[in-house]
Symmetry: C2
């Protein structure tokens, strides 16, 4: 309490060595005799000493911090509370920690337009992970061009001057749709917004399967929320009756919204309509009927994101990469 903050030079004096020796000892530098190192480390623990990160960062010119910025456009209502996005952040957090880095949680509000200036020049972080490619990639591209070490969670097929990691959305959409067809659906419905890069790929997969099987199909463009899905299915049923027998929803939240609308109107799932979602959020297996879905391997993706970012930090350049997705069959299909 009353005591002033212990600094490295104090610790050194307590140990009877110079500041530089103390510094090297704490960093386990083999220049220092082993027993000296251990003695100083023990002393540090005993006195609850910790290195002043601000000073260290200033001197080292690196922060050991990675910024994660959640990149949501104002236009869409997909909220920051989307369980899937938050799961991605959570997995990134773990992956970042495993590599000895810390995670600065940020957003457009703080970082403004000039991400390179804010994070890199501002020495707030050594690199940036962007979650959510969004529809507008100007800021990401600008940051990358300015030399920001940066990786993006999004659609890996998009060509860009930065590496993108994400699921194989096309295959995912294809598998989901073929599964619906295999289960007997012949009048398909895609629910989502193909204007969004990742969802566009899923839609391409959907269309591919539809054409191959020569079945009917329609697409309803909606906001990526359960509310929008609920409302649109309700409207569709009211206006035209049951014009479909299989739904591929662009996300689980959307699928669950649709599911609710169907159940309220006594449409049986999966007998009358089969549904497959995308993401495999926790709720998918707890809904009733449990939701079939395309599971995104966020854990593997998070690890890849971090690895690619770190390799950029050591000067290498790396490419976009898809991570396999997996069809999880449950009761809804």
């Amino acid at each position: 309490m009353g005591t002033t903050q212990l600094k490295l030079s104090d610790l050194a004096r307590l140990a009877g060595v110079s500041t530089s020796t103390a510094s090297r000892a704490l960093n386990d530098n083999p220049l220092i005799k082993k027993e000296t190192r251990e003695r100083i480390q023990a002393l540090a623990k005993e006195h609850h000493f910790s290195v002043n990160a601000a000073a260290s960062r200033l001197r080292m010119q690196k922060t050991k911090v990675i910024a994660v910025i959640i990149n949501l456009e104002a236009e869409t209502k997909q909220s920051v509370d989307d369980p899937f996005l938050l799961k991605v952040v959570s997995d990134i957090n773990r992956a970042v920690n495993r590599k000895g880095y810390e995670l600065l949680l940020s957003n457009s509000y703080m970082a403004g337009e000039d991400w390179h200036g804010y994070f890199i020049s501002g020495r707030r972080a050594d690199g940036v992970i962007v979650v959510g490619q969004g529809k507008e990639q100007a800021r990401i591209e600008r940051a990358a061009r300015a030399g920001t070490p940066i990786v993006v969670w999004g659609d890996p097929k998009t060509s860009a001057n930065y590496p993108i990691v994400g699921s194989d959305n096309f295959i995912g959409g294809l598998n989901a749709t073929e599964h619906l067809i295999a289960r007997g659906a012949s009048k398909l419905l895609f629910l989502g917004d193909p204007g969004h890069a990742e969802l566009g790929e899923r839609y391409r997969g959907f269309c591919h399967a539809v054409e191959k099987a020569k079945v009917e199909a329609q697409m309803i463009k909606i906001d990526i929320t359960s509310e929008a899905a609920y409302a649109s299915i309700n409207a569709l049923l009211r206006a035209q009756g049951l014009t479909f027998d299989g739904i591929f929803a662009c996300s689980d939240m959307v699928a669950l919204g649709a599911l609710k609308a169907l159940k309220e109107r006594y449409v049986s799932v999966p007998n009358d309509v089969r549904i497959v979602g995308f993401d495999d959020i926790a709720m998918a297996q707890i809904s009733f009927p449990a939701l079939s879905t395309i599971k995104q391997d966020t854990n593997a993706a998070a690890q890849l994101l971090v690895e690619k970012l770190l390799s950029q930090l050591s000067g290498e350049t790396c490419a976009s990469q898809e991570v396999p997705s997996l069809l999880v069959i449950r009761q809804s299909s």
Copy 2:
């Protein structure tokens, strides 16, 4: 790219002033003539200059960073992916930003045992927000005693040497239970773990209502996950049949797990069994039937947490506080 990092002294030279003038100008210090200030600020923008945060923090002795640490005990399986916890973090993020601070997302893994040493002495953050009181408060208490500015999301009734913000869990439990009874339930079931501080209060509210109304009640102690709830309801139905007609679940995830088990066995909700959850996560209104629940005002709580933390930073001492919760009636009851 090839150009070296612009520093304050470079900017000053470009503007034809001293470094100190440039510094003051960027901080809008009225000591500097207004037009000089504006000229330098414009120049900074033009050259994409940003202050080196590491240097600034070193000199200022403060970081403008708040650490949020998610405090989950190893024993319970409540995962970091719990949508409610993540919503709290997300709301805290917004509240922190509004005050001009950044958010460092951390956990026991990085911070270790000595939070004061790691965050405060280590100059990584100016204060700490702990999400999740947990069952074991030794680390929090130790950090507080060491002088860490700290606030906790948890049960405000717990007496502690740090301020706790959270919902009025007792009232919440009381209201939920009285509502169940008012809807005709007379054989109640509490699903959760009263050993956990917040849940204990909810259980107290439950018991209070039960005693007042003199109805039957039982409690099943389970892990706070939908899987555990699903499994326990299943087991109970199999072993004893339908021995209850109202469930107060300690969280929405738990409620939804229970709901699924009931629906699978064709128990009608809300006709045979009424259910009320706690939290009001996004899924509550999209489940079928939509889940009645006690809504926690995470937004207000987040703001309170941040305000209390900042007032600690300016030397004030502050008390725990409850935020009102709200019974949201939907179809499940």
